[in-house]
Symmetry: C2
Subunit: 225 residues, 2 copies
């Protein structure tokens, strides 16, 4: 069927549906971003092909270049745009801890939340991609680090500082303590998943690891009674 004979689609009354051009452009932009993300995650930056992104997105290559200018800019827009959203549904550490019956439970819950997010296969793939392309795109490394700080470490530092002021903990260097807490809990399964993505994570073992990490933390930083 020749493409030239296509007519505007009509609704149930026969009224032609003229798509809002702005919305059409937005939808195409979204389709490009989705296709590009899938391709970059699967292939890495260099092996990713603009032809493949073209095919997956359903728009033409020229349109992609009109929107994003170059492969580099497309990569930065897609990956850089996704980074701030990676931690989007992480509840603030302070709230999680305050809602718990005791500090240990609060820390375990927060670390479990963090693990649930960071160990998701898409986030793990994104992290591997960013690490692998850091020499080419140092901005992404800095962005990743800042997002981690703003969404997790920063709030946790605040929470530990307040708990220390309230006498519930004794944490002289909250920034270092947060790094230790994260490393000794989520950091351990994260390292395994980084090098062995095919390994199925075991929920029971994950909980045990996180609880043990929190206990390690509390053995040092619990307030002396």
């Amino acid at each position: 069927m020749p493409a030239g004979t296509g007519q505007d689609p009509t609704d149930e009354y026969g009224i032609p549906i003229i798509p809002d051009p702005a919305d059409a452009a937005s939808r195409k932009r979204r389709a490009i971003i989705d296709a590009a993300l899938a391709e970059f995650l699967a292939e890495g930056y260099s092996a990713a092909s603009m032809d493949a992104i073209t095919a997956k997105s359903g728009v033409s290559k020229a349109t992609i270049y009109k929107h994003f200018g170059s492969k580099e800019r497309l990569f930065l827009a897609v990956v850089g745009g996704l980074l701030p959203r990676t931690y989007a549904d992480l509840a603030p550490a302070g709230a999680t801890i305050a809602a718990a019956p005791d500090v240990r439970t609060g820390l375990v819950r927060h670390a479990s939340e963090l693990a649930r997010i960071l160990l998701r296969p898409e986030i793990m793939s994104l992290r591997r991609l960013v690490i692998g392309e850091i020499d080419r795109f140092p901005q992404l490394g800095q962005l990743w680090y800042r997002v981690t700080y703003d969404m997790n470490n920063g709030p946790l530092i605040e929470a530990l500082t307040e708990l220390t002021a309230a006498g519930a903990l004794h944490v002289p260097d909250p920034e270092l303590a947060v790094q230790q807490l994260v490393a000794a809990t989520v950091g351990i399964p994260q390292l395994v998943q980084t090098f062995a993505p095919a390994t199925e994570p075991d929920a029971t073992a994950l909980t045990a690891t996180i609880e043990s990490g929190v206990d390690l933390f509390l053995a040092r930083y619990a307030a002396r009674s």
Copy 2:
């Protein structure tokens, strides 16, 4: 100058030096490996060019293909061959700890040794490369993990087990404890260097981080007196 007129080089007595063919081939092989490693570390697998490796190594492209068959096999040979050597000059954990006046000093010394090796820029680059190519070469991820275990975690587990048997420590789960110790010491600066390679590591801060991590570990696992 036409290449056809080249003569064998002679020594100081005019005796032609005929290079041992096996040695010549070995030297070329070594030159290829060195050039390929530099190129792969700088560009990643996909962006690395066999032409660039040809130029850097000083041999012809056909020779590289005779030796290694394909780009993939060259990559695996070069990176896979280097992995076991990364930990080559790490003293066994047991020896380092046994030679120290006390357990804390021994653990700090071992962690510092480990950090000295793992934070070297070439090792950090190699690690980033392996992580970024894990979807394409899962073997390298498994190899990295096994080398880490054989050269560091395994011996450390043994050492902690012996120290527990001797009553110097109380470590119920040595495998988990080793992961915690490594994560809370070397893991922290390693994470920073992973995402921010340009950051100059501060030796004083590194020592403080490692000592704090060991103290964290001992707060939980020191034998109860």
